[in-house]
Symmetry: D2
Subunit: 321 residues, 4 copies
């Protein structure tokens, strides 16, 4: 018997399984009736990313840190890698206070061509050395498809920044990788646009996607951006992917990062990514929103208390004095 299928079809992989994404008016029973098909799901415009696709939370690992489970994972580090000494000092402070992933940018997307653009491969080398020495996995930003291979030699996870959330060629490139991808929300992206950006990566076969809310642009100028806190809860309902929050870019102000961090965890975030610097006042970028080591340490303790209040934990933080 012949059946006219009017939809279009995409094929991707999830673990060892082949997933066919069918877009259009294809009768469900036709597909379900095929012997090779084990199950059929009807979903939203973001098909693979949706809760309808997977009721269970996806767990994504960067090194030993697991996102999407009961842990609240703290990622921290400077905005940009500036020197081996700066990274090493910071990494040790991060680990000491309960952070389990190290961040640091080697390729910096800067608004002005005259601003510090990052150390490039030299920065990656520093990240790798420090990561090995201190024992923290590393996430760093990728800004172009042709950097994916290079960065993969040094880092444990790839970050796609807010300005590149709809750089679709880059999304396709990280979708072909198997490294975890931290996908930041664009500065004025809707949730659907954000989840469709994640969909590009999932469709490429890379299911290790962590979403990161980092504030949106509004009329407000008191803070750098507006932390869209309710959306954290909403996105957790709409997708099975982990969602973390970047309180540093969301607020741009050191004085309210602790409050924003507590709020994020209270709302259900699976983790935080925070800027920390040995000397924020002399940082080559984002100084005003970087915490000192002491401020970071206090913040983690406050966050850990809130995590417990919502039935979760910050790993490696219990043992704090």
């Amino acid at each position: 018997m012949e059946t006219a299928l009017s939809g279009r079809i995409w094929r991707t992989q999830q673990g060892g399984q082949t997933v066919y994404v069918v877009h259009g008016s294809v009768p469900e029973n036709v597909l379900g009736g095929l012997e090779v098909v084990s199950s059929v799901k009807t979903t939203k415009s973001f098909m693979l990313a949706s809760r309808e696709y997977s009721r269970e939370n996806s767990l994504v690992k960067i090194g030993g840190a697991e996102f999407g489970g009961s842990d609240v994972v703290i990622c921290a580090g400077p905005c940009a890698v500036e020197s081996r000494e700066q990274m090493l000092e910071t990494a040790r402070a991060v680990k000491r206070s309960g952070g389990t992933v190290l961040r640091g940018g080697a390729f910096k997307p800067r608004t002005s061509p005259y601003s510090f653009q990052g150390l490039g491969e030299e920065g990656l080398r520093i990240l790798k050395e420090v990561s090995d020495e201190v024992g923290l996995p590393v996430v760093t930003e990728v800004t172009s498809p042709d950097q994916v291979a290079l960065i993969s030699k040094y880092a444990d996870a790839l970050q796609v920044g807010a300005r590149n959330m709809q750089n679709f060629e880059l999304l396709k490139a990280v979708g072909r990788s198997r490294l975890p991808v931290l996908l930041k929300r664009g500065i004025s992206a809707t949730i659907e646009e954000w989840l469709l950006a994640a969909e590009y990566i999932l469709l490429g076969g890379n299911w290790n996607v962590i979403l990161c809310e980092r504030g949106i642009r509004t009329f407000v100028t008191d803070t750098r951006n507006v932390l869209d806190i309710a959306e954290v809860a909403l996105v957790k309902d709409l997708t099975h992917l982990p969602v973390i929050v970047d309180p540093s870019h969301a607020t741009g102000r050191r004085d309210i990062i602790p409050a924003a961090s507590r709020a994020a965890v209270a709302a259900g975030a699976d983790g935080l990514i925070v800027e920390v610097h040995p000397k924020p006042e002399s940082a080559l970028s984002d100084g005003p929103q970087s915490l000192t080591f002491n401020e970071f340490n206090s913040m983690v303790r406050e966050v850990a208390a809130v995590a417990r209040a919502v039935g979760r934990r910050v790993p490696n933080c219990e043992q704090l004095p």
Copy 2:
């Protein structure tokens, strides 16, 4: 000796004291030298509302509920007073779950002239009766200067809604009252505009002002508004006045009100004002953002846990089973 004072001067009262607000280039030592002057302070554009004016938190009371201290005060009730039965049932549920202030609108500012406009004085009468019977103080909205006297006969506190945040004649009118005023942030108000609105009330001699963040209008359509959570922490730094959060209007979605409420308290809010209705699906206004009694009860417990994690408490909530 003569000194040229080029500034302008306003006079108001705080408690038993006379406060002169001087705007302009008046040498501080000239004023300080006058025998009748006990102290001189230099402040921001919002002079009376600023932290520079008062380092200590102002404590504002509605009935027995105290805002601005260590308590996290839960205000709750329906959007609009619809009937005595609805109010009574709701007030009892609110009290049972740990709410200590009752809300309910008798004069409803509605976008459309064809929408339910509230019961008016009949609604006030119901509020008063229920308040007395259940033992909860009442806050209700005032939408016009000439309603202040009427509402004051029935209610314990006046609410100025977001749309009226810059209705300056109304601000002056509630400034002449001595009832506590709940001043909502306008849908696209900056913090300075909001604190200057409070300034109108303080300058009138009414120091019982509670600020209420209720979400801002942005490009986001997934939620009714965007809860500007970082601003709660920021405003607490800028003013001595108490700040509470309205998660109902901020999100417009029942499913994420609990998460938004937890986040608000984690960020430092002094209380919440939440919409609760016996049957949200048949509410005359704001049904989709009203909690059922059960949902409200769960929310208060979650909030109480977060309050403890940040060193505060929801009064009357300890005894929950």
Copy 3:
């Protein structure tokens, strides 16, 4: 025969006719069949304001100036009435350059209580005298229901400012008046909210409503607000009411007011309301966005050229040298 009417009904007047607004599921043929009913129309949520209610443009007059026809009407004057001399000098300059309505505020809604609040009734008296002497009708702002009667003694039209667009008690009050009402769009109002605000006035029986776009609040800080120019064309399609543009508040910058004015007329605006001041640098309010007399004169000529290009005219401007 009996028919169940489940809708609610409002009654208002338009000219000599009674208009019933029915909200709900009332069968059209039932109403149309009644002898006293001459016609039945089905409309949008803003029923009386909609194009469905009246295909023809409504013509609204302030003095001799007609809005909504082929004329492009120029209203101009200072932000605030400061003195008789200032008003007289400005009114003469406005008339000389082709302006046909005079503006000037006596009751000023100011963000800060410490800013100049206007001259009040003294300002109204000046407006009236100057209006009579120069021969220009006057529009001035009303900020409270109880000012309507007072202002009506002196002015030819009432302005409801952006901050009061949803001050519903004020809308009802000007709806009971028969003076023309200039209704500014709120700083973050949707078109539907704006037209529903107009609906409050129409429903009160006052059909002399002129809409005024004055810029919206967005993330942009280069200009005071963002002139929503496409909306002018859109609103003209959605309503029969005249629509004018305030390029002064929309941009907040003297240097681009002429460009914004040309754009407004090119897009289909029925007029402009512009701030003009003898000495902008010493204006008591809005100096940076006030044109000098020369700048105003040039602007009107540029606007007149664009008006001709779109098949319209600025009256009294042909005779310019």
Copy 4:
């Protein structure tokens, strides 16, 4: 004599000249005193793009069409290249009505991975053939650094879309090209961010940059975006580069594109880029915002009338019947 120069220095080319961009505190007289230096200019953060750098308008040519002079250039074509027939038919209609540049996308950046992604190189081939046959130069979008070489074989100008305005690797890549670049404003970009994006291209040595305003994202949902019309005039003041407007993306609605186009030219735009399609209702993308040939023809005539009113002309449009 030695002088300490504390700034950093970049070198680029403009025409046959070498330009040094110095960032920091370098005394002007030191540089000016060097024999090889012919002139020194002090500018804004966007140094090469600023009016201070060049008082005179830069003239940029795509084929025979000149942007930045007295002409108002009309660029038009479909959103996406769909077939040779569609392009040929459209190109002829565009030329007939007074358009002088053809647009059409071969690489389409789409929000959803499931949407039509463009014909790729096949689309470029069609563009080139049609361009040659009809005699219109072609602009098409580039979405990745590695596409620049390929597209340069077929097209006369490169378009950088709104989503890629801060894809800095792409900006650097088109900066190394010498083809004209149409740089769209990001959906929530400030003017400074936009001009700094242009700066990346200029600094690469490519001075053929045309800016394109295409609407910003705000709370407004009545139109797809908000056309920031005042900014056109403002940007013309801030930079020497040509500025055009895309009324199709700015409004997203066929019915108001003509009004938006007239407004753009009235405000001072150097051109327009408009979506036109033989059958908008069956377009593979952006149908609702594509004009029919007849609508386009009317629009160009209206625009030409406004252009004359502001002392400019739409070339090839005089001869319209």
